[in-house]
Symmetry: C2
Subunit: 377 residues, 2 copies
């Protein structure tokens, strides 16, 4: 029946996002909601302008809270299973925008325990991946006094009380139904939902989670129990996946480098990957492209410009029209993408090299981090 | 089929300890093994002399290690579900004897998380029960520099690494088979075996667990995975349950005070409970008792003298013979028990009142505790 699959561990096929909204029972981020955000924030992140942040739960309630002077907080995370690629990074930039516009606290969970449970890797390997991933995340440039980045394996000491209270409320039936766990699932993984849910209760305020929609099952589990525990149901903004290089099905994967641009790829690698693998919506020859034009809707280079590389809506529309008309050739479009992407990655690397100090603040010594290490939940 | 039940959460019926050995696949503590212990320790704890420590796993291997100069360590625990009764305390005295004779480290786990998961109590209630229980345990008088008493909810911070490694090795099939978990079991409880198993790997040495036999399922789960993880299979000494006041079936329960002497009972309560509830093996009248004699094997007063109140084997045998012959009346036997028990409880209360300092050492500041808080597993 389903020609696509979206779970926390697998994304396959060409995703029909409208069907996902229906299947997960979430709400579309529509024009009135976007206008309302703009009336608060003054401008709009391109994820809102370009229908990438497409679905939500209770975002309207979050805005109600904010407008009536109640605070909310942001929560997102990363499973450190390998090197990060460009598709992993962009939701963090969107999250940064939200933090800046609303001036709120942000909690970033690094699920080293989860990845240890499901990967054939030692905990030492996972730890070193986690360290590298956290530097990538810190490079995004969150407010170091309003952001707390934590490893589950470290912060468990402070949040175990809360984790226990959550675990007591969830039985095997529930995790079987929501996550598809079965007899072969290890007991670490079975317990893990209580750990991913815990940060939604770090403050007695509404928690807004910007994340790819594959993480939604956790928030469904949270919403079933939160109010009974005296907390708010988690609110969420769901983002579409960035197309893999290979075309508009599935999601990027670090373990298949031909589908992804890694954050440590050099210019040469970027060029080669885009030229060789980036799925094109253009025609097979220059002559045909000039005559018939290309299809930007399936063209990965265009999709990437739209997803993050071309901030300027006007310029993006020009590129689109030129591509459709045949004025812009596939090679030229790819060249634009290569240049912008190389610059993006180069800048990211510089920021990552300088991120150590900020990461330390976000983990241990910044205002929010210090407060979090003093708290016992 | 079974006319008795022994699980970590339920003990019912008249327990056939021989059948338990067969069912659990453990070994009998036989004469040669007891003689071997005596050749090392010089004397024998009454649990060894009186067949109360009746079953074991790998105790011979522990003695081999000890005799060849390798160290081992002791591990036991307590689930803080309510006030402690006399039946809870005695295994700790036996453990103390082992610690003294072999000069080894002892780890005592207080499973506040487990009890929170299975009881209809708040975590605050569990915490205050745990505090009271730990004072009872500290009153036993372990070596405060070689004993580490810890709450799961606190020490999770240091042992989570080890807990994760264990949890990754155990799947739902296993805990379903060993503990009878099902779809209704909460995910905290499903995960808990990894926490009860962790202390068996606190040292890279053999772990000897003196505990009532109902805890054995945990050690079975441990023994399946320990060697694959580079640790020893846990060794165990299994103890018989102290008979409830009401007779030789089931085990004592703090929630049914007529079956148990609580550690905070006063002399009046002890007297009343023994006189009113202690199941008697005697005859219905003085005349019949004089003529036919009593049956010490089912008489709870006699069982308690044998289990812990009468240290002197000769005196115990005299009491036994006098009871069988009818020389000793039920009332007189009960009187002996009341006196000895009152003295025991009175002394325990005094020790408990003075236990605060030692408990602090065993939890945080003693040599072993300090070392344990510096360790991250």
């Amino acid at each position: 029946m389903a020609d696509f699959v979206v779970t926390p561990w697998e994304v396959k096929g060409k995703i029909d996002y409208d069907k996902l909204i229906e299947k997960f029972g979430t709400s579309r981020i529509d024009k009135p909601l976007i206008d309302r955000i703009k009336s608060i924030t003054g401008d709009l992140h391109l994820f809102f302008r370009r229908d990438i942040a497409f679905s939500h739960r209770d975002l309207d309630a979050v805005l109600n809270d904010y407008e009536s002077g109640k605070k909310f907080f942001l929560y997102t995370g990363r499973g450190p299973s390998g090197k990060m690629h460009i598709g992993h990074l962009l939701p963090f930039y969107f999250t940064k925008w939200l933090q800046e516009k609303f001036g709120v606290n942000l909690y970033i969970q690094i699920t080293d325990d989860e990845k240890f449970y499901i990967k054939e890797k030692s905990f030492d390997e996972i730890s070193s991946i986690a360290r590298d991933n956290m530097l990538d995340i810190a490079a995004v440039g969150f407010d170091p006094d309003k952001t707390f980045i934590f490893l589950d394996s470290e912060y468990i000491r402070n949040m175990y009380g809360l984790v226990m209270k959550i675990a007591k409320k969830i039985n095997f039936s529930t995790v079987k139904a929501i996550f598809g766990f079965n007899n072969e699932t290890n007991i670490g993984m079975i317990h893990f939902p209580s750990i991913e849910i815990a940060p939604t209760m770090f403050e007695k305020a509404r928690c807004l989670i910007p994340a790819a929609i594959d993480q939604d099952p956790y928030w469904r589990a949270q919403r079933d129990i939160a109010e009974g525990m005296g907390y708010y149901k988690a609110a969420a903004i769901h983002m579409k996946f960035l197309s893999p290089l290979t075309g508009p099905t599935g999601k990027m994967s670090s373990s298949d480098p031909n589908t992804a641009i890694l954050l440590d790829d050099d210019e040469e690698a970027i060029k080669k990957k885009i030229m060789k693998y980036a799925f094109s919506g253009g025609q097979s020859t220059v002559e045909l492209q000039r005559k018939l034009g290309g299809n930007p809707d399936v063209d990965v280079s265009y999709q990437w410009l739209s997803y993050f590389l071309e901030e300027d809506d006007k310029k993006l529309e020009e590129i689109r029209q030129d591509y459709i008309s045949g004025k812009l050739l596939t090679g030229e479009l790819k060249q634009i993408t290569i240049e912008k992407l190389s610059k993006f990655i180069e800048e990211h690397k510089k920021k990552k090299e300088a991120a150590d100090k900020d990461l330390k603040k976000m983990m241990y010594t910044g205002n929010l981090a210090k407060k979090m290490w003093e708290k016992i939940y």
